[in-house]
Amino acid sequence: MTEAITQNADMPPAISETHTESAEGSGIHISIKAEELFHVGGFPVTNGLLLSFIILILASVGALILWKKITLIPGKLQNLAELTLEGILSVMDNILGNRRESERYLPLIATIFFIVLFSNWFGLIPGVGSIVLHGHETAPLFRAPSSDLNFTLALAIIAVVTVNIIGVVAIGVGTHIKKFLNFSSPIGFFTGILEFISEIARIISFSFRLFGNIFAGEVLLTVISFLIPYIIPLPFFFLETFVGFIQAFIFAMLTLVFTGMAVQEHDAH
C-alpha cells in the first residue's frame, strides 16, 4: 500500500507540499479531488473517506462514553452535550414553531451539523494533509472530508431527499408531487418545473458551497504556510475554524429551513 510515510509539519490540511524529484525540486500539491490511498476488494479508499471513517469512529466512541455517563444529575460532559442540544433545539423551535416538531427532526439536523463541523475542523488538525504517503502516487494520508466533493454531494443528496420525504409524510404523496407536476394552469406548470429545478439546484448549491469554502480555506492555508510558515498562518487558522463552524451551521440551518417549509405547507393545506 505504502512505501513510506513522511510528515511535512508546516503543511496544513488536505493539500500537501510534495517533495518531488522534478526539476523544480519542490512545490505545492493541490488536488481538487481526494486521492486514492488503497483498494479494499476493488473498493477505492480515498484520504477523505479515511478521515471520514475516523470521524465516525471517534464520534461513536464519544457518544458511547456520553451514553454511559447519562444521569439525572448531569456531569461536565453531559452538561456540555445538553447545552449544545438545547441550543440546537431552541434554534429549531424558532424555525419550526414548536418543540415537538423540533425533537422529531433533531436527529437529522443535529447529525448534519455535527458531521459537517467535525469534517471541517478535523481538516485543521496538525497532521491532516501534512502526513504524506509516498507510494506509486504521493498523497496526503488524511484529507478533510468536507474538501471532498463526494462527501458534500452525498450529504446534500441526503438532505434534499430527506426533506422531500418529510414533505411527503407531512402533506401526502399527491400534494407533494403536485408541487412539481401541476397541470392546473400554465403558470402552475411552469412553477412546478422551477420547483423541480430548484431541488436540483439545492443539491448543487449545498455541496459546492461547503466544498468551495473548505477547499478554498485549505488552499489559502497551504499557500500562506508555504510562503511564511510561522505565526502568520495562525490568524488564518482561526478564520478557518470560524468558517468551519459557520459552514456547518449554514448547512444545518438550510436543511432546517427547507424542512420547516415542507412541514408548514402541511399546515397551510
Partner: protein, 169 residues
C-alpha cells in the same frame, strides 16, 4: 459530464460510502445521544415541575398552618381567660361558703365551749357544794364536839344553804 465528474473526483462508490457513513453516525448518535438526552431532559423537567408544585403546595400548607396556629392560639387565649374568670368566680363562691361554714363552726364551737363551761361550772358548783357540806359538817362536828347533842343536823343543813346562797348572791 462523465469527464467533469471524474475531474471533480465524484465516484458513486465513494458517494455511497459517505452516505452510509452519515447514516451510521445518525443512527449511533440517535440511539446513544439524542434519545437518552431528550428523555433525561424531559424527566428532569418533570421532576422540577413536580418539585415546584410540591414547594408551592408546602407553602400553602405552611400558610394554612400559620393561620390555624394563630386561630388556635387566639381560641386558647379566649378559653383560658374564660376559665380564669370561671375559676375566680368559683373561688369567690367557695370563699364565701368557707367563710359561712367557718362562722357556723365558730358559733358551734362557741356554743359547745359554752356548754362545756356551764357543765364544768355546774360540776364545780356541785363539788363546791359537796366540799362545803363536808366542810360545814366538819365544822359542825368540830362545833358539836363541843356540844353535839344540841346541834341538829337539819339546822346545820339550813345554815349551810343559807351560807351558800348568801355567798352566791
Amino acid at each position: 459530464m462523465q469527464e467533469l465528474l471524474q475531474q471533480l473526483g465524484i465516484d458513486w462508490r465513494l458517494l455511497l460510502s459517505q452516505a452510509v457513513n452519515f447514516g451510521l453516525l445518525l443512527v449511533i448518535l440517535w440511539m446513544l445521544t439524542y434519545k437518552p438526552l431528550l428523555r433525561i431532559l424531559k424527566e428532569r423537567e418533570a421532576k422540577i415541575k413536580e418539585g415546584l408544585a410540591k414547594a408551592e403546595e408546602a407553602e400553602v400548607h405552611l400558610r394554612e398552618a400559620h393561620t390555624l396556629k394563630k386561630e388556635k392560639l387566639k381560641e386558647a387565649e379566649t378559653e383560658a381567660l374564660a376559665l380564669m374568670q370561671q375559676a375566680e368566680a368559683r373561688a369567690h363562691t367557695h370563699e364565701s361558703k368557707l367563710i359561712e361554714a367557718g362562722k357556723l363552726k365558730e358559733a358551734e364551737l362557741i356554743a359547745h365551749a359554752q356548754r362545756l363551761a356551764n357543765a364544768e361550772k355546774e360540776k364545780i358548783e356541785q363539788e363546791a357544794k359537796r366540799e362545803a357540806v363536808t366542810l360545814v359538817k366538819a365544822a359542825l362536828i368540830k362545833t358539836v364536839e363541843l356540844d353535839p347533842k344540841t346541834i341538829d343536823d337539819a339546822l346545820v343543813a339550813k345554815a349551810v344553804t343559807q351560807v351558800y346562797e348568801g355567798k352566791k348572791s
